[in-house]
Symmetry: C2
Subunit: 280 residues, 2 copies
Amino acid sequence: MTIETLSTNRSFGGTQGVYSHASVETGTTMTFSVFVPDHAPGAKLPVVWYLSGLTCTHANVTEKGEFRRACAELGLIFVAPDTSPRGEGVPDDADGAYDFGLGAGFYVDATEAPFAQHYRMRSYVERELPGLIASNFAVDMSAQGIMGHSMGGHGALTISLRNPGRFRSTSAFAPIVAPAQVPWGQKALGGYLGQHRNAWSEYDACALIDGGARLPDLLVDQGEADNFLAEQLKTHLLEETCAKAEQKATIRMQPGYDHSYYFISTFMADHLAWHAERLK
Amino acid sequence: MTIETLSTNRSFGGTQGVYSHASVETGTTMTFSVFVPDHAPGAKLPVVWYLSGLTCTHANVTEKGEFRRACAELGLIFVAPDTSPRGEGVPDDADGAYDFGLGAGFYVDATEAPFAQHYRMRSYVERELPGLIASNFAVDMSAQGIMGHSMGGHGALTISLRNPGRFRSTSAFAPIVAPAQVPWGQKALGGYLGQHRNAWSEYDACALIDGGARLPDLLVDQGEADNFLAEQLKTHLLEETCAKAEQKATIRMQPGYDHSYYFISTFMADHLAWHAERLK
């Protein structure tokens, strides 16, 4: 489990690095970024995982997320994986669409050909990358939080719901809350998992909560001017599901905000403070 | 003087806009960005001009500069112009190099063919754009600050030094302090202005200070791990010039920091607070 350092830059009194490694799960070279605030020798810091949305790599949040000041102040390590396998031999959407295939792994382990071989983002993010991070960075693996945006919000919610006790804090920006009920999710889950809809429910936050999965609590920010709100995100489904299930949740609608990093960066420090409260 | 709105995004309790207009000075369509914090109807806010470095457009600082939180808290409007004319008929470097021509206007009014027609970034930034901003945004033009990075640090210093009293605050990240003495500057000033070196001095911060120009004070941050420090930036020349001229200046060398936006974003809030102190 060796990693290659692609770049490091000093920033906000810490080190922003970008790294790559040969992934066993995806069978490809995977790239990720890690921000590590300066800390005492031997100290281990809480870690927050950030899962990105459709079309993104590690780079979008690393460049535009505005997380470093808060992470440095709060003493949090911030890890941002890629959103899919990439490279020669990795199949893409048949029409090259942005919402399936490259940049759109949806944090599932695909079972359908030709995707099953490389599209193993669930196992990559749940198991392989945490092992790699634990052995290469000063992380306290007993203090993990997870967050994400859009498709990555879906990833954060479902990974946390499926692994009770592992994440002390879970939050999302504009998450896809019920992929089985919206076009993005139906295309992705159908393509990666096939049309047996019972296989979809472990990748659907609302279905998981309906099925009894619970989190200690949950923070979601959603822009009211988000073009994807009505058709793809349907935040109200999460609100209704949480209310029915008595799942504690803070779901905030933010007037005027859209789906972009201009929205995410605005509320990033809020989310990180919320994670830090639960990780310390 | 009409402007076209290319995009607006709500961010940090304000509006990040990108605009374009037909520039009289450059004879091209010019694009710029403006962040306006929410404010009381009829209020006018101080404005900080940010001039970008080689290869940049308005977009680099707009996406990576991490200025919006501080601008919103401090009530500052933030304007980021492009770094050169662009478009059909605008001549570029003969070899397509990054340090001359497109993306490298050096904030001069060119006098040499074929650049003199379009490369009028001095007049554009000093006169045309301020007029446009004053008539389209809620700016208090009696409270202006100016800052920039690298080539844009050179622009900020020289524009402020040539216009005494106009900017209440001036700062720079990793500025080119003496273009007449370094390869980037010699190529640009020679190419735009010709080899009559006496024409260069009004575009050289150290030469302007040597010649008697003064600012109330000055803030500069420079990364010690900046690859361009020794050959192109030569911060020590500014330190020596300011000491000799008794020009008040705070010039901070920052260990470990490089030339990137990871460096700029780290110290952006510091600079904006410094500007705000002088603009309120």
